[in-house]
Symmetry: C2
Subunit: 291 residues, 2 copies
């Protein structure tokens, strides 16, 4: 019952879940995407949820990655320290059923006081490598954006920026909320926000301009775009620091890639986009090859 | 029935209200502080609420400042543009009852795309001037911190930073919430946050360290202090830019002053603290002297 006969790969996040059955040729035969993230299940519900996945996707060994391995997930799997390559991560797989059902560990970085953690993005980072120059800095945008420095095929260090979460908080709960309800896009207001943040503007100061202009009768064309530009510009400022020069591998969901690609274009850094699902599947394949 | 015979001064904010009866000697005879901010009243409720204040504080002319003059308050009073001194602001008073009950206007700053507004802090800024060197930059910490550049006794320009609001959002709604429930104080964790932010660290990146250290079993001694230090450090970075060198007039509530004074001490800028209520009363006095 080897992994070369085919397997099931599951990217199990906080609010969403993507599962794929992969055949012996390495092709996806079936894909499931749904809202059954870990927060929608009780701790006792995972056994059955995983069995239900097997029923739908076939009797094959399974690797699960992402928040499923966190303390709110199925089993808490310890983080692998940096530097972490495919072999290090595979060695840390927690086997719920030996050789059959495994949970991929997250990766942690520590240096002095500095600390960071990720769960799920490490698989995409490994998988994206085949599409990127070896010195690429990987940017994975999201609720918690990750900037990942790869060295000789391993995750050397990384940095999380709370960009997506802050945008969500401002949209849902802040005084700016009424001005942030449009869809953000890579428009002129977005470019303005990016350029101000990259020029060193403090986002928390610039953001209040949205409210002031509204009260003075000269609102932004799209306040959400401008706010998104400011926050993504600040995100870039934090991330690009990790690795001067060189290409950026932009890995993730297409809607977020569009915004980050537009912001990165204004920095002059060469950007190579990699679809997040494709990177995930390639990363899981790398892990299975070590098993 | 002149203002020199005594008056009532009301600082009416979003969630709180402070009202004072001042006698002909300029002394506060009675003070009321309660939670009847503008959000606790319906638009029709203000007439009666103001009458009730008169009943309690005596039959004297009244000046009201703060969010009471906003579109969610009693009457919307247009902003006075910068540069704005006591005479400019007094000329913009909206008289609900001519010469008897007036609402002090807020101040707006505009330059190209840049825009900012305040309501209430302008009175404190004018009032604090008597205690400060003429070139002082005024810092008024709060939900929306204000940095106010005074020139020849007038508000020349100012900048709002959403520091307090962001801290509140992170504490109430973010993934960091469990680590932010202690009281923030000017302790070692606070100093660490201030120093990182002043060194150019991106607060949205550094904040995630609170979560990472927690997951790795080495939580901050006080996560709220560290987060507060990061945000106040970024606030200072935005504000101190407005005016290199010179003293800082730190005006406002004593609990916030304590945090900002500690952060400012680490920048080497001379700081002079002025109590917010005292500044408010002195500012209202300046306005009445022009009436």
């Amino acid at each position: 019952m080897g992994w070369r006969e085919g397997y099931i790969a599951v990217d199990w996040g906080t609010t969403n879940r993507r599962a794929y059955s992969v055949n012996r040729a390495g092709t996806v035969e079936q894909a499931i995407e749904d809202g059954l993230g870990i927060m929608s299940l009780s701790p006792e519900g995972f056994d059955e949820a995983v069995r239900a996945l097997s029923d739908r996707l076939g009797d094959a060994p399974m690797l699960l990655a992402g928040m499923i391995g966190s303390n709110r997930g199925w089993k808490e799997v310890p983080y692998i320290p940096c530097p972490a390559g495919a072999a290090d991560i595979a060695a840390g797989i927690f086997w719920v059923e030996p050789g059959r059902i495994g949970i991929v560990p997250g990766v942690a970085w520590s240096e002095g006081r500095g600390a960071d953690v990720m769960r799920g993005e490490e698989v995409q980072a490994l998988g994206a490598l085949g599409r990127l120059p070896p010195d690429a800095l990987i940017c994975h945008p999201g609720t918690h954006s990750k900037w990942i420095v790869m060295r000789e095929g391993r995750i050397a260090r990384f940095r999380t920026v709370m960009t997506g979460e802050l945008f969500g908080l401002l949209k849902a709960h802040s005084i700016l909320s009424p001005q942030l309800q449009q869809q953000a896009s890579a428009d002129a207001a977005f470019a303005q926000g990016v350029s101000e943040a990259l020029a060193g503007e403090e986002p928390l100061a610039a953001l209040f301009g949205i409210r002031a202009r509204h009260l003075l009768g000269r609102s932004e064309a799209n306040g959400a775009s401008y706010a998104s530009g400011l926050l993504i510009g600040a995100d870039l400022r934090a991330g690009l620091n990790l690795h001067e020069g060189g290409s950026i591998g932009l890995v993730g969901r297409s809607d977020l890639r569009a915004l980050y690609a537009a912001a990165l274009a204004s920095t002059g850094r060469n950007t190579i986009e990699v679809d997040g699902s494709e990177a995930f599947l390639a990363g899981i394949r790398l892990l299975t090859e070590t098993l």
